[in-house]
């Protein structure tokens, strides 16, 4: 009887995720070229997509870029989130609620709407960013931040961090509220300075939360797609700014090279599952 209850879940997961994963594994061993676009069945090519990929310097540039982008965004997000959580803990109820509401607003924004606002803010012609920089004495008038890949990714990272910090800050803050003020006061009376209190009391207490939110950020920031895609729309040079997600999209729907797209997808799934494993295990521990 209980097994029957999980059947609908299994069915929907198999149909919408299981089948595609299977198809992807099969397809990653096939070649799709010109002829296949005219209806020829794809050829079996064994591991040649994978060997082609692993020897393609362009792929390694994209993998490296994705990992670097992911690490920077995740670490900055968690650092800022921790700082804001401690700020919320340190201030009184009024300022804390103001900050919480602001964070919730940013968190609640749909991605596509956030992207339109940010592209408006960084718009080269009359965006707010260039105006503010001018006021600070930087000659930014008419500068397009999306053309150069470096500043493109800085803009993307700022947006990703802005979107991700609220979840991290509020989660860590929830962890901090477990900490009783008496313990901190006692430590202070015993002569522990601010740094010592942070190092020996606060951080050990919130370490489990920090490690979980860091892990989630790493997983989520590796799959950044919408932000990069929409910044490319807004004037970025697509070929210089691909991350794994947009690269797969371009291989699959742009070039029709499903074999290669599948091989990159499998690579991405493997990386994600490897990183997720620790997170899933820690959730399972709580389960049992």
């Amino acid at each position: 009887m209980p097994a029957v209850l999980v059947v609908p879940t299994l069915l929907v997961l198999l149909a919408a995720l299981g089948y595609p994963v299977g198809w992807q594994i099969v397809t990653s061993f096939q070649h799709f070229g010109m002829m296949q676009q005219f209806g020829q069945p794809p050829e079996w090519v064994g591991l040649s997509n994978y060997t082609a990929l692993l020897t393609d310097p362009n792929l390694w540039v994209i993998v490296g870029r994705s990992i670097a982008f992911c690490l920077v965004c995740a670490l900055v997000t968690v650092a800022v989130g921790l700082a804001l959580a401690m700020l919320m803990y340190a201030v009184g109820r009024g300022p804390r609620v103001v900050l919480q509401v602001a964070l919730l607003l940013a968190w609640a924004m749909p991605v596509v709407a956030s992207m339109t606002v940010w592209t408006w803010i960084v718009n080269w012609r009359n965006g707010l960013l260039n105006w503010a920089l001018e006021r600070l004495g930087v000659d930014a008038q008419g500068h397009n931040w999306l053309v150069d890949p470096i500043s493109f990714f800085v803009v993307a990272a700022v947006i990703v961090v802005w979107m991700s910090v609220p979840f991290v800050a509020l989660s860590i803050y929830a962890g901090l509220t477990q900490l009783s003020p008496e313990v901190l006061e006692a430590a202070e009376i015993d002569g522990a300075g601010g740094w010592q209190r942070l190092r020996h009391i606060i951080l050990p207490l919130v370490a489990p939360v920090i490690s979980i939110v860091l892990l989630l950020q790493l997983i989520w920031d590796l799959r950044v797609f919408t932000q990069v895609k929409l910044l490319q729309d807004a004037g970025g040079v697509a070929n210089d700014t691909h991350l794994l997600g947009t690269y797969i999209y371009q291989l699959g729907t742009g070039a029709g090279d499903f074999g290669m797209a599948s091989a990159v997808s499998i690579l991405m799934l493997v990386i994600t599952v490897a990183v997720s494993w620790y997170y899933v295990r820690s959730l399972m521990k709580e389960e049992s």
């Binding site: 879940t9 397809t27 340190a90 300022p95 802005w162 989660s171 797609f225 794994l244």
Partner: protein
């Protein structure tokens, strides 16, 4: 005798000074974080001429609702709204029913394979859509479900079910089994005891899961971009992107674009504020004991 008292007092005033400073910092950070949301709404009320001035206009005085009128008049908007509503409602209904049964199974029963089922759910929940969407596109195209709301709803349901099962599991486990047993002692059958006693107590959990599924389906961009290829079948996020692109072929009318974004965002923000606590505590699991 008095010295220790004074010594204790001095740091206190220093501390309250520090606290005031931190309060200012907190409010400043809040302003920075909320600013893009404010900027979207502010710009939505202003006309192109005002927005193109060299000096930005920070308050919407002298603004109008013209941009909103233009957006709501856009034929594509109403169609996209209809498609988004349909896809979202199907997803929410399907996810609630399916996840409810799944959550019931894992929190009320011990069965063979239960542990692997939970493990699989948690792993699947982490799979990136970006690593699957090409395959989902091919699958949908081979069964003729491209540009089909049911097809998209199926993909969305699969995407939200793992987390909703996990979230509901907590709610079901939170209702003590003793309540049901007491009702059974009083003569109700097991299923009746469940329906009359446990089910009503699960209402908040069902609402929270429903809103979670709603937010995911309503905001989703990536999968929709891949399987809803025609302009006729755009969901709201796709429509918004199209609106921006159409505007960019002329001189982008940022006022209209911001009005369009505001229309898409505001209902979501309201819904989100209702459920955020549940979502974050579900995600960080036992790391935060509340």
């Amino acid at each position: 005798m008095r010295t220790p008292f004074l010594a204790a007092k001095q740091p206190r005033s220093r501390r309250s000074g520090r606290r005031a400073l931190l309060s200012v910092v907190a409010v400043a950070v809040a302003v920075v974080w909320a600013f893009p949301v404010y900027w979207m709404i502010n710009s939505a009320f202003l006309d192109t001429v005002t927005l193109q001035r060299t000096t930005p206009t920070f308050l919407p005085f002298g603004g109008s609702l013209d941009n909103f009128a233009t957006v709501l008049d856009d034929a594509g908007f109403l169609r996209a709204l209809g498609i988004s509503l349909t896809v979202t409602l199907i997803t929410v209904a399907a996810a609630i029913v399916i996840a409810f049964l799944g959550a019931l199974a894992i929190s009320r029963f011990r069965f063979r394979g239960r542990r692997s089922f939970v493990l699989a759910l948690l792993l699947i929940q982490m799979l990136p859509a970006e690593g699957l969407f090409i395959a989902q596109y091919k699958m949908m195209s081979s069964v003729g479900l491209l540009n089909n709301v049911l097809g998209l709803a199926l993909l969305y349901t699969a995407a939200v079910v793992p987390f909703t099962v996990w979230m509901l599991r907590g709610f079901v486990a939170g209702v003590p089994i003793e309540l049901e047993e007491a009702a059974m002692v009083d003569g109700l059958s097991r299923s009746k005891a469940f329906l009359r006693i446990t089910f009503p107590l699960l209402a908040p959990g069902l609402v929270a899961s429903g809103v979670y599924a709603f937010l995911q389906a309503w905001n989703e961009f990536t999968v929709a971009l891949v399987v809803m290829t025609e302009e006729q079948s755009r969901t709201l996020p796709l429509w918004l992107r199209g609106f921006v692109q159409a505007s960019a072929t002329r001189e982008t009318d940022w006022g209209q674009v911001m009005a369009a974004s505001t229309v898409v965002a505001v209902p979501v923000i309201i819904f989100f504020l209702i459920v955020q606590g549940r979502m974050s505590s579900g995600l960080v699991g036992g790391a935060v004991k509340g």
